[in-house]
């Protein structure tokens, strides 16, 4: 559970980010038939719709579903399969895993031994330095992908570097970024992480133009927004990649897109990523495991299978708001990757919903009671 401090909902700024949640909520109970006729005691005492809604949320709710990791499907359940499974474990942990560690280590050695000199020596030649660093980061990401035998199929045209465009993708794990980065050196907007990931963020990834922020800092939001605007204007900057969900979702659902990426006045290029969970669940449940454990889990599995689609660039239509635009792009991505859309703001993992939504229900109830009291 997160600390009480973060729960003071930063609702005011979040509110603008989300469309009307009620529009999406499971109908049926939520949308009651307009009760008519004179108000009787029965109508006041009968709180069954509200109660059922609450119990329904306790039994199952779409928000928690978004962040549920699927446990690996056991297949060692009979005497013939069991030795086979043991054999698989043996190979995965004692042969494949050490090989992968070796590959990754070699990758790091090559990467660091060229990155550090390039970074320090080519100070005067910015353009050259940047293009070498770019290829080095791409190469390092390829080593990462190789370290979990990533079987990645890319569909659609490769992204090109030009000003005034942003790429948005659905977000399952930090490896999304690595998978996309091995093809094109994107500059990404990310939550600042602790530990060794944070160190990488502030040293190496900084050089490809990545931007970091802290989710809970309202001040950071403004700074990021400004940096974003500056970044998209530069012609030689790496293409910008944003995960507008703002949090990792389990690749069965999409939560609401933050509108930030959609109000830059740029062409938005949707990228859909769908993992095949046949060998391993690529969802990074950051509450349950650290990124290192997550990587180890991937490295001890047979392979990470995934599809990446670069979809058709979209522009803001005349008369469309940023939120509508975001929803339209979310439609496109969800449709391509076969994900279900839910009306939740992913940040609800870190904060409570604003009282606005409860107030709307109370308003409906009060209006209905008062109106029916008039009816005689």
């Amino acid at each position: 559970m997160n600390s009480k401090g973060t729960l003071k909902s930063s609702s005011s700024e979040l509110d603008f980010d989300r469309p009307n949640i009620e529009d999406y909520l499971p109908s049926g109970v939520a949308i009651q038939q307009e009760p008519r006729g004179k108000l009787r005691l029965h109508d006041l005492l009968d709180i069954s719709p509200t109660l059922s809604e609450a119990a329904g949320a306790i039994v199952d709710d779409s928000f928690t579903r978004c962040f549920k990791s699927n446990p690996p499907e056991p297949w060692n359940w009979n005497i013939y399969l069991f030795p086979l499974w043991c054999f698989g474990v043996f190979i995965r942990y004692l042969i494949i895993f050490p090989t992968r560690v070796l590959v990754l280590t070699i990758g790091w050695i090559i990467f660091l031994s060229s990155f550090i000199p390039v970074h320090l020596l080519l100070k005067g030649h910015d353009k050259l330095r940047r293009s070498i660093e770019r290829s080095l980061v791409e190469m390092m990401c390829s080593f990462f992908v190789a370290s979990w035998t990533g079987v990645v199929k890319y569909h659609g045209p490769r992204p090109s570097r030009r000003p005034k465009q942003v790429f948005v993708a659905n977000h399952t794990s930090m490896i999304d970024f690595i998978i996309l980065e091995q093809m094109t050196a994107f500059a990404v907007i990310m939550q600042k992480h602790p530990g060794w990931v944070g160190l990488l963020q502030s040293t190496i990834l900084e050089s490809v133009g990545c931007i970091w922020f802290n989710r809970s800092e309202a001040k950071d939001r403004e700074i990021v927004a400004r940096k974003l605007r500056e970044h998209v204007q530069g012609a030689d900057n790496n293409p910008l990649l944003i995960f507008p969900e703002g949090t990792c979702v389990n690749n069965h659902y999409t939560v609401m897109f933050k509108k930030g990426a959609f109000e830059l006045g740029c062409t938005v290029c949707p990228v859909a990523i769908k993992y095949n969970k046949i060998f391993v669940d690529a969802f990074w449940n950051s509450r349950k495991q650290s990124f290192t454990t997550h990587l180890l889990q991937l490295m001890t599995s047979w392979a990470v299978v995934c599809d990446v689609w670069y979809l058709e660039p979209q522009n803001l239509k005349p008369g469309e708001t940023a939120i509508e635009f975001a929803e339209r792009v979310r439609d496109i991505i969800s449709h391509r990757a076969g994900l279900k859309k839910v009306p939740w703001d992913g940040y609800l993992k870190y904060s409570r919903p604003s009282p606005k939504h409860r107030e709307r229900k109370q308003q409906n109830f009060a209006e209905s009671v008062l109106r029916r009291l008039e009816e005689k």
Partner: protein, 175 residues
């Protein structure tokens, strides 16, 4: 290998079924157990109010605070027993009893004018004034043959709510 459901033995399930008057099938209990474990993040054996409040749909419910007092700290058996009133197999009597318990916050077996006002306040929030609520309530009570000072018992609730029946079914997603 072992998923959460395998931790429940046949005996456990039967015991829980006993406890909820067989209002849930064994399969439903297994699913409820998975859900229980999911909500009980640190596997304490009960769900804390903080964990209930991590469900946005629950927080948005006008009477969530009231319900929270009823469900806070329940172990799995009592959790199922609480939810059993929402089973399709539960009788109208059981459902009305639960509604009564929601109103009867001090557990004294009777519901006063003030108790009903409190719930009404949860339901209407700032969109009705205290005077309006009192006026509405005393009017409908009078029309139903009760006065402002009398207490409603469970039998009264059954009389008032029983005629038209209450729709309060929640399906347990069995997948």
């Amino acid at each position: 290998m072992g998923s959460a459901s395998s931790m429940l033995t046949q005996y456990d399930i039967e015991e829980v079924q006993e406890h909820c008057n067989h209002l849930f099938s064994q399969q439903e209990i297994v699913c409820l157990y998975e859900r229980f474990c999911q909500l009980d993040r640190n596997a304490k054996g009960f769900i804390s109010s903080d964990e209930f409040l991590s469900i946005p749909e629950f927080v948005m419910n006008p009477i969530s605070q009231r319900l929270l007092k009823m469900v806070d700290g329940l172990n799995f058996k009592d959790f199922v027993a609480f939810l059993s009133a929402f089973s399709t197999k539960a009788s109208a009597h059981q459902k009305i009893e639960l509604i009564f318990r929601v109103y009867d916050s001090d557990h004294n077996g009777k519901v006063s004018f003030k108790d009903i006002l409190e719930v009404l306040k949860d339901l209407s929030g700032s969109f009705m004034s205290d005077e309006q609520r009192e006026e509405v309530l005393s009017q409908v009570l009078k029309e139903a043959g009760y006065s402002k000072d009398c207490y409603l018992t469970l039998d009264d609730f059954i009389k008032v709510l029983g005629q038209s029946g209450v729709k309060m079914d929640v399906e347990v997603p069995v997948d």
